[in-house]
Symmetry: C3
């Protein structure tokens, strides 16, 4: 084997994208597009700003432009013009197809994007559902009768055809408080209060904790949003080290820490500390663009190599589903080739680790 064997392998390995959302299926304007190039801001970009003037924006121009028949680094105007000539489904087929993904795990908790079947159709790949617990909570609030029973019932039913659950606790209450299982009486009281207030957007820590512990009992992997996301979350209390006690109580159910920036080293430590904890770079890789290799390098520090998985967290423009994969391939190649050239890793080991991260571990824990 030569170093190019590693390069060839990373370039072609079929990925399990273990956490994504649907791509857009309806047309939108340039404003919508540019705002989606900024993850953290919850308001429209300021007039002086442009979503293109960021690492992600530069990555779109460098890496997505050629798939639309444009030169690398094409200016934003031409990129947008060409993209607008296709309908959103055609754009999605182009970028989903180019990602080299075999299986999409789709968190269906967000609206106005492709559902699992549409992701399947647009990509030509397999697609599986990830059930968002906070959505189950809202469904249970709207159901008649006992909240806890309704939650368990809906979760059981939906999870029967799903591969995992997902929680956005980081957005709703943060990790800094008590995360133990609440009593039935606590759940009942909290649910009554919430239903009286309309039962939308669950933020009550008791109900969030109840959902988490139901998911643990279910036994399918539980994905947790960690770190970087939009500013509705307090990034300070989205530090996964706050999860220590919860992880100690979590039994054997695999728990996957998503995104993790700037706590990827803390997350890697947890993946070493707990047999059932996994780590994923998620949307961080997409948003770091040219800086993705430095982040990927930190993902392969303390985390055991059988505890790291891949996802794009793509949501909206299918460029994101593609860039996650493309930047992961380039970045991981850069990092692992360096280890091989330094003599610290063999190339055969590097190829084996690529397979573990690309799909082996995800196939094991999600049973796909």
């Amino acid at each position: 084997m030569t170093v190019s064997a590693l390069a060839d392998h990373i370039a072609t390995v079929g990925l399990i994208d273990q956490h994504a959302h649907g791509c857009w299926v309806t047309a939108g304007d340039r404003r919508r597009f540019e705002n989606r190039l900024n993850e953290a801001n919850t308001e429209p970009l300021a007039a002086f700003d442009s979503g293109f003037d960021s690492q992600l924006g530069f990555a779109v121009r460098a890496r997505c432009a050629p798939l639309l028949g444009l030169p690398r680094h094409v200016d934003p105007e031409r990129y947008w013009q060409r993209r607008s000539q296709s309908d959103e489904a055609e754009v999605a087929r182009t970028f989903l197809g180019a990602a080299g993904v075999t299986d999409w795990l789709v968190d269906t908790g967000l609206d106005e994007v492709a559902d699992v079947a549409t992701m399947r159709a647009l990509s030509g790949d397999r697609a599986h559902e990830v059930v968002r617990l906070e959505q189950v909570a809202e469904q249970a609030a709207a159901a008649p009768g006992d909240y806890a029973a309704a939650f368990e019932d809906i979760l059981q039913r939906r999870a029967a055809t799903a591969v995992a659950t997902k929680s956005i606790l980081a957005y709703r209450a943060g990790f800094a408080g008590d995360l133990s299982a609440p009593s039935a009486a606590q759940v009942s009281r909290a649910a009554a209060r919430w239903r009286d207030n309309g039962g939308v957007r669950v933020c009550d820590p008791v109900l969030l904790r109840f959902g988490l512990h139901c998911a643990l009992r279910l036994g399918k992997p539980l994905q947790l949003h960690v770190g970087f996301g939009d500013r509705d979350a307090d990034l300070r209390t989205a530090n996964p080290l706050y999860l220590r006690e919860f992880l100690q109580q979590a039994g054997d159910t695999p728990i996957v820490l998503l995104h993790c920036y700037p706590y990827e080293r803390e997350a890697g430590y947890l993946a070493q500390a707990f047999n059932h904890v996994y780590v994923d770079g998620g949307l961080t890789i997409t948003h770091l663009g040219a800086r993705a290799p430095a982040f990927i390098a930190r993902l392969v520090e303390l985390a055991p190599f059988r505890k790291i998985v891949y996802s794009s967290d793509g949501y909206g423009p299918a460029e994101l589903h593609y860039l996650g994969a493309a930047l992961w391939r380039t970045g991981l190649h850069r990092v692992l080739q360096g280890f091989v050239e330094d003599g610290e890793w063999s190339e055969a080991d590097a190829i084996r680790v690529v397979d573990l991260i690309a799909r082996g571990t995800a196939a094991r824990i999600y049973r796909i």
Copy 2:
């Protein structure tokens, strides 16, 4: 364009140093000099130590020595001997002139150094005032009558000819508490208490918060010390993620996060999350010396490229005003050239981003 076009551009672009203090104008001994090469320690260096045995000390010998006609890496003794042969003003002219700065924004809150006019005269460049809010508070404490009215009046008057305000809240109370606007009654009571105690060194959170909210209403950019500085600040509560609620309340006034180490990634996230937040490497770049490129690379991760500015935070020896610029040029070139060589950025984009960081964004927000 070739890669050297980028190198040439970074080497020559005129900088807006958007946060500095005056340089020394009076002679001092070697002890004073070596102590200023250590930022964090508030006590004299131990007898076993030397300010020269640090990244900054090595940078002085590598980069400043040639400007004094000495060989690169000259030993500390010869450096100090040669430096002592010139008076402080002559040293200042040498290093300020070599920085390639067109505009110095001078925080005038520190004594025993050059004022704005002297910075202008020594450098031959433009210089503008940044008003330190905690100094305004002390002036208001010493003024007759109502504290709040005096504060507002002094701030209005001083800010009329200034380009920005600055707060050292990180040093006085940290970011971990309530940062909302206090009521008039709270300010009145806190001011009375503080005046009774002598009115020096404002540390009362109520008065610090009052100053911040006055500055927000003023509308000129507000600079905040964040992260690395001397140990009078608790580095733990100088984490900018504690500012989340304050930033949500801050309206449109630009807020510039200075220095930021080791929270530069958190600061970059905030610059993406809030339209009015900006990030600056400040004195970190100077103190990291040979390690500055790694830090600069992290500054261009999540922060949008129109939200990053340059400063030296130079204070005391004019070597610091020069090294900030010199290390920024080398480090940013290293980082951006890497992106260009990887094919992730075009060289034209790299040059445009250099201009944004060097002066474009600062010119926009400070209106200079």
Copy 3:
């Protein structure tokens, strides 16, 4: 001098390993070995996992295999087979001897491994004791009479032939609370309570603080576990920035922050901020394997060059005692050679800094 002078020097300099534990002296099975390749987990590795599939596991195969006459990157089966053909003492002699260490500072607070005399015999080097304060506490609990007097007496007696003390406060209470010296009455009450409960595993913050302040008065360097270790410690409150007030009270006694991941930049800041604070990469370097250079680079950011020391924290398999040294040599060479090639450091300075970290500073503070 050429760049190879630096390489030669780093490859051969005799190290003071300023914090290690004994190596194994009795035979064990592969399960024991693989579990020791994972530091953070306190439970047996899961059936799907292997201690070899980690940066440390790869480092064992890359770097230790040749010392057993095996090819670099040999597969785990053959590595284990060959290792099992020797008894543990023979393995220890091989790896301790290859580390290039002149002095081992041995924390004797862990059982079932070599004691100081055995480390001396196996390595053929000098070995010195580091007294673990929590072990002294347990000895004092078991002694008759007043606890405080017993503690002080045992500490004085044991420290007479030791070079330092060590605390694992991070494991027992974390750094987030009050760390001031307790009163005699507080100590007396806490000791009575603890003795009533059996006097094993001291976790009472009062008694832990009492031990720390006794150690400060003793004047010999105090080593503190910081950051990365096993999950019995809460990594979140093992952040050394919580130590600020304690360090302000600590007088002149050298305090050495061990391991520090992921807080090595915070620890470097403290080493700059306090004349008596030192920083060490410890077991982090061993566990990061191919990623060790990136970590070592961050250790030489803010920490003054006379405030950085070396240790392996080896414990159990003597591979760890060897890998600490081997990875430190390679990593530090990579980092410093980069500085020299960039023109930021002279090679002579780089060699001098190597000597300071390798042994100069440790020799000074431990008086060996």
